[in-house]
Symmetry: C2
Subunit: 548 residues, 2 copies
């Protein structure tokens, strides 16, 4: 049994990029990508990716070089998910909602060799590159991504390279490097770009392949999906569906912005069957006159559990919602697999069941709620006992790039510790009861409260600071800062603190409420009791200033 | 990127057996297996498998030891798919349609350490063990599998060990060996047990895991399937669905025999949603008064393409047929992924499209039709140019056990050569035009014509022999032997030759027609022109003798 060797025929590195040549071979004439008046087939997408990969190689891109992209859900971002690893490089899709400083931190930490920038983000990229240059760090080659049917303007002068020109220039017949090892990196996704030690999550080809398979299975994506890109591709590579839609020979419907009219038009024009989004997109879909859908659209949602009211309203229109849970370090991890018999339950009970994060996807070896101590024992399955969600499996990240400390902290006793606190119900379904202590999720974006506290403490009038989530009618939640004034008599001015933050961080991270208190509540060990602050924040309303 | 090490948390060997503990954890209270009055939950199945694995270890079973089973689709066969590899051993499920000699060849070649035998096959096993013992080869430990609600009789005296007693005796808390390497063997499946060099196909855990994922995806098996075991589990581990049903937390409906009444009763009693079968089972389903199904049943079929007439009749009853292609060496390989738009076509066109074997499943890296020469170039995608179906990917077998020659022949130029001849249509769908020269598929069972010819040549009256497939109204096809008499005047007696074969091979392999001719048609190189013989056989009818 043991003497049978691995052969090139029966031991092929697992690789999600391989879904593209397969799609070109077996779904070649079917539509791959639509975007406005633009439409490609899978054969064309494959050729365009081969061309871009060849162009990257001829620019000097080599194995493990990072190629960054700052762009919305346009065809270029999609194509780069294949073209960049086809050049043996690592794709780094950057969150377009970050500010210049955060983008600069990522570009430096990743040591990006090439940087693709959508025309809409030229200013942001310019500022970020300036910060990189001012620090004396190496500046990447920059290429602009223009909408194909828009005339290319002054931007080209500024940026030298242009996406379509690279695609045209690349030789589709050039021999590309083949994947040597499935453990090789395919993507680099940052969880946060504001701290001094950014966490760059590295995915292996093996992990991304398995995650894609697991996601397709757990969500039940069949043949020929028509997938609407509401979820940004820069979030965990579109929860793996960048690769997944190719695996299924589906249609990628790209849109630049999530406006209700655009979403409904895309759904009806292309017969959308699937989309992913944070619950905030439900608010967009429900604003104004929401039409009843002609055919059901399957929606995978995550970040925060959809509320019963929201669920009821979107499901009435014709959306079929699956609730899932994932994180940058793991990609998709849990999914609330729906049982047919639950369809018969009243709405309140259904939402209650659907609010649970659910069971591990098949590409994980194990998921559980454990007590984070030496024993790492499982909590009882009583729906009450709290523990930390822990994951294990080949679909997890390789680790954080150049961040030994974060790696040692995250990987523990054979598990990856998510930092999220939850319970296991008697039926084995997991539910998160308390998000990772430091994370606030606003409109699907993770905000690190530790980062905010660090910035707030730099304000001359602030002596102590703690940031927690407060409810927000549109964004789900938003940061609320509790501050202690250095000079009790002088106090701290809320508007000024908010202005101070807006200069120093991405807009979505800015606290929308500042509360000045005498002292932060601390326990006997000196730790801030955030539970108390969250309770207090529950009854506050966001400040008007921050809403501007 | 390269410095991030593999860790126990993020590099877990891929293992289809892991679907069982997951099912126990997250689908624990749901039904796993039903069989007559017997019913288990996933938690019970997990515990029973742990017990059996512990019992095997205490019998002395060690890593890479082979545990064979000769049984129909009963719960024990299902459980052994998990319990045997949980003991680090390799499962060898033997085709119950073989004769004693063929079973003996397998037991010897596999060096089976333990041999489980269903009560119905005690006589066959006894004869096979006698042959093994007579040859002075080591005889395995033998355990009988009795139906749980049947009283155990004399058989125990003969066989010493009994399945349920082992399950009872095993300690469910015993520590079991953990999988060291995903390349380690999980199963050993024989393609043929009659030749002097049997081909024992070894699956790795990695391959079986990927194949299971690929099969679930390509067939679109969603949550909570109710799976009816019509396909024998000894065929490629039930086309991977032994492991696949656990992955999906489905119900395994076990039946001992494929009788129409039993099949329809199971479908209606348990709400069957999925089943696999060779087209021969369609004949069983259509015989007599076929009721209309209350809900659609998805059927995956393979071996031979379903004819238009058959397809029409089964689909009218409510079966939804997917046509697929696989082989022992690869497991599932191609599936005729159905396009929604094809539903609108007239029946004849639909069957024509469905008769194609289709596109590669996602766990393969590549599948193509190639010219088997030094270039291994692809044939044009014209639906006409013939080539050999070639496969590549981690879901393929590790190789043939102790058969260097077969391995060297099968793995060629980075491909696994299937031996099947086909074309690629312009849309990328593959279609087999001529089965591997030596294989006849009768009622879903592969018969090696070379083996038959070898046996026929041992008959004193036979000078030359060639065996090809002839059509058969029930079995699809059946072997037809063309013989040249040693003494032209004396000839060869058909009945006698058939009787001769029945003594020497499994019943399903026996030629059902013998034709005596002056000389076999041979080409310039001396090769028998089987195409001509197949044409001749097309108009013959099976002999009455062989039908007994």
């Amino acid at each position: 049994m043991d003497k049978l060797p691995k052969r090139p025929a029966n031991y092929v590195p697992l690789n999600p990029v391989g879904f593209l040549p397969r799609a070109s071979a077996v779904y070649g004439a079917r539509t791959s990508v639509v975007y406005g008046r633009l439409k490609f087939t899978w054969r064309q997408t494959h050729e365009r990716c081969r061309r871009l990969a060849a162009a990257l190689v001829s620019l000097g891109v080599r194995k493990n070089d990072v190629v960054s992209v700052l762009a919305p859900n346009v065809p270029a971002t999609y194509e780069m998910h294949f073209a960049v690893p086809m050049a043996a490089a690592v794709l780094n899709a950057i969150n377009t909602r970050l500010d210049a400083k955060a983008v600069a931190v990522i570009l430096r930490h990743a040591q990006a060799k090439v940087f693709f920038v959508d025309y809409e983000y030229v200013r942001l990229a310019h500022d970020a590159l300036q910060i990189v240059a001012d620090a004396g760090a190496p500046v990447p080659l920059v290429a602009v991504i223009d909408d194909i049917d828009r005339p290319t303007g002054v931007r080209l002068g500024l940026f030298k390279l242009e996406y379509e020109a690279l695609v045209r220039k690349g030789d589709p017949a050039a021999e590309l490097p083949s994947l040597e090892d499935e453990w090789d990196a395919v993507a680099l996704n940052y969880t946060s770009g504001t701290t001094s030690a950014p966490k760059g999550v590295v995915y292996s080809h093996r992990g991304a392949y398995l995650n894609t398979m697991g996601q397709l299975l757990s969500w039940g994506v069949g043949n020929e999906p028509v997938y609407l890109w509401t979820l940004p591709m820069f979030h965990c590579n579109g929860w793996t569906l960048t690769w997944g839609v190719a695996a299924r020979g589906g249609v990628n419907v790209c849109i630049r912005e999530n406006r209700a009219a655009d979403l409904y038009r895309a759904i009806s024009d292309y017969g959308v069957t699937h989309m992913c989004c944070a619950p905030v997109v439900f608010n967009i879909l429900l604003a104004g006159q929401a039409p009843r859908l002609a055919a059901p659209v399957h929606v995978l949602t995550g970040g925060a559990p959809p509320t019963a009211a929201l669920l009821d309203r979107v499901e009435r229109i014709g959306f079929k919602v699956t609730h899932s849970y994932g994180l940058t370090e793991a990609g998709p991890a849990l999914a609330c697999e729906w049982r047919h018999q639950w369809d018969l339950l009243p709405l309140a009970e259904r939402s209650h069941l659907k609010a649970r994060q659910g069971v591990s996807i098949l590409s994980l070896a194990d998921a559980n709620v454990v007590v984070d101590d030496d024993t790492m024992s499982n909590v009882p399955r009583d729906g009450k006992s709290l523990g930390e969600i822990a994951l294990r499996g080949s679909s997890l990240m390789k680790g954080y790039l150049k961040n030994l400390e974060a790696n040692e902290k995250a990987f523990k006793g054979g598990w990856f510790m998510t930092g999220d606190v939850g319970v296991v119900h008697p039926d084995g379904y997991m539910e998160i009861k308390d998000r990772s202590k430091d994370v606030i999720i606003s409109g699907g974006e993770n905000i690190c409260s530790k980062d905010l506290e660090y910035t707030l403490l730099q304000h001359p009038a602030v002596a102590d600071a703690a940031v927690v989530a407060m409810p927000h009618p549109h964004w789900g939640e938003t940061p609320c800062a509790f501050l202690v004034a250095r000079d009790k008599a002088a106090g701290v001015c809320e508007d000024e603190v908010i202005a101070f933050c807006r200069e120093r961080m991405s807009r979505f991270m800015v606290p929308r409420k500042v509360v000045v208190i005498d002292a932060l509540p601390r326990n006997a060990l000196g730790k801030v009791e955030k539970v108390k602050l969250r309770d207090a924040a529950r009854n506050l309303v966001p400040s008007t200033v921050a809403r501007l």
